[in-house]
Point group: C2
């Protein structure tokens, strides 16, 4: 029963949350690295690994949810401890979604034969955007481990780099589809993969905002752009870039 908790056991609860989140973070990082490698190298082995790992994050989120709920800080430690609990639940939820997005990329890689022409032309941008998302995820997990608001803020403010790559990839991919209808299926899946990578970056940014809040009790100013620019894009004229 929660009423029986002492401060010591509550400290144990918080340590459990931090340790479990760090494990989830490690799994999420590995899944994203494998998903990007699967996408760029058409590597179905990596893709299969991503799919099999997703359940670990689903279970992790449920466990953190349960533990956070049954923990009970004493009134004297409130509200600092409430921040830790709310923060843990939010970060677990973001990591679980990162796993879903990585798995979705992996399934598309397995389903679709990537044409070499597309891979050569678009691969480097996918790789750059995937690597950026992975770096953001790693850094934001470091920021959480050290409860560093400065690092969290820096990561949050860099969110537009991935968005810029995704934005540049969109019209180019539409052009490939128009040039040869045989590219349409692969390119459509590629666009969803690119969108997933951009969303993984968004979740890293969400985690950065949560870390800042846990560390300071303040929310970062809402000046971050919240939508992707491709929503207003049409294909360029043939021959243009």
């Amino acid at each position: 029963m929660p009423e029986a908790h002492t401060v010591t056991s509550y400290d144990d609860d918080l340590r459990f949350l931090t340790r479990r989140l760090s494990e989830m973070g490690g799994i999420a990082e590995r899944m994203v690295a494998d998903a990007v490698s699967a996408l760029v190298n058409a590597d179905t082995g990596s893709a299969q690994r991503v799919i099999s790992e997703d359940l670990l994050l689903d279970n992790g989120e449920r466990e953190i949810y349960d533990k956070a709920f049954w923990s009970s800080p004493s009134a004297s430690r409130w509200p600092r401890d409430l921040r830790e609990i709310i923060g843990s639940i939010r970060i677990a939820s973001d990591l679980e979604r990162v796993g879903d997005l990585a798995k979705n990329i992996a399934k598309r890689v397995i389903a679709v034969r990537w044409f070499h022409g597309i891979s050569r032309a678009i691969g480097p941008r996918s790789r750059a955007s995937g690597e950026l998302a992975l770096t953001q995820l790693k850094e934001v997990l470091d920021a959480f481990a050290t409860r560093s608001p400065d690092l969290a803020k820096m990561i949050r403010d860099r969110d537009d780099e991935i968005d810029a790559i995704y934005t540049s990839l969109f019209p180019r991919t539409l052009t490939y589809m128009m040039e040869d209808p045989r590219n349409i299926t692969a390119c459509t899946h590629l666009l969803f993969c690119a969108k997933n990578i951009e969303r993984i970056g968004d979740h890293a940014t969400n985690i950065a905002e949560t870390v800042y809040y846990v560390a300071t009790g303040e929310q970062l100013a809402a000046d971050r752009p919240k939508d992707d620019d491709t929503a207003t894009m049409i294909a360029p004229a043939p021959g243009s870039d």
Copy 2:
């Protein structure tokens, strides 16, 4: 300061959270209804309205986050009240994302001229899926208002209806792209709109899970499918459906 809170003022905080969430729910419903109407009828007026309303949900989420954090239930009311706080933050976050997705649909409708052929062929499925998402959102907000775990569970279990429509729309849309390259830009945006509607349904399902948890203290069993089936789809042979 939180320490100065009395039980009465804490009750005021909870009432504030519930009222503000209900307002956010109303705005989200209106935005989804307008976005679906914009999509199905190529109605740029509705689309503009959706875009202008999104900021209301962003602000609502921030306000709920602040209020939840500074509220401080007495130890005797814990953990029931912690559930209310965690639940409010999760629901506000889901509603904010619903607004983002509706806005993204609206921006695509404004950017792209919908070809009549596509609209005639695919419009009814988009409408059906949009109306289902809207119904789910309305019902789940009712479930929250009445803290009904039964209604919440029923909504969660019905999530696959929207997914089925989205799944049927995907190969058909690829076929349209292959039949005429002039359809490619519009169809690509249409697929992202359909995906957004499916995601709105997912957020309604998330809210149902949160309502169940707030009302009972238990998590629903994790038997819900978590990914979309189109990740493994390729276009059908010409002439097939």
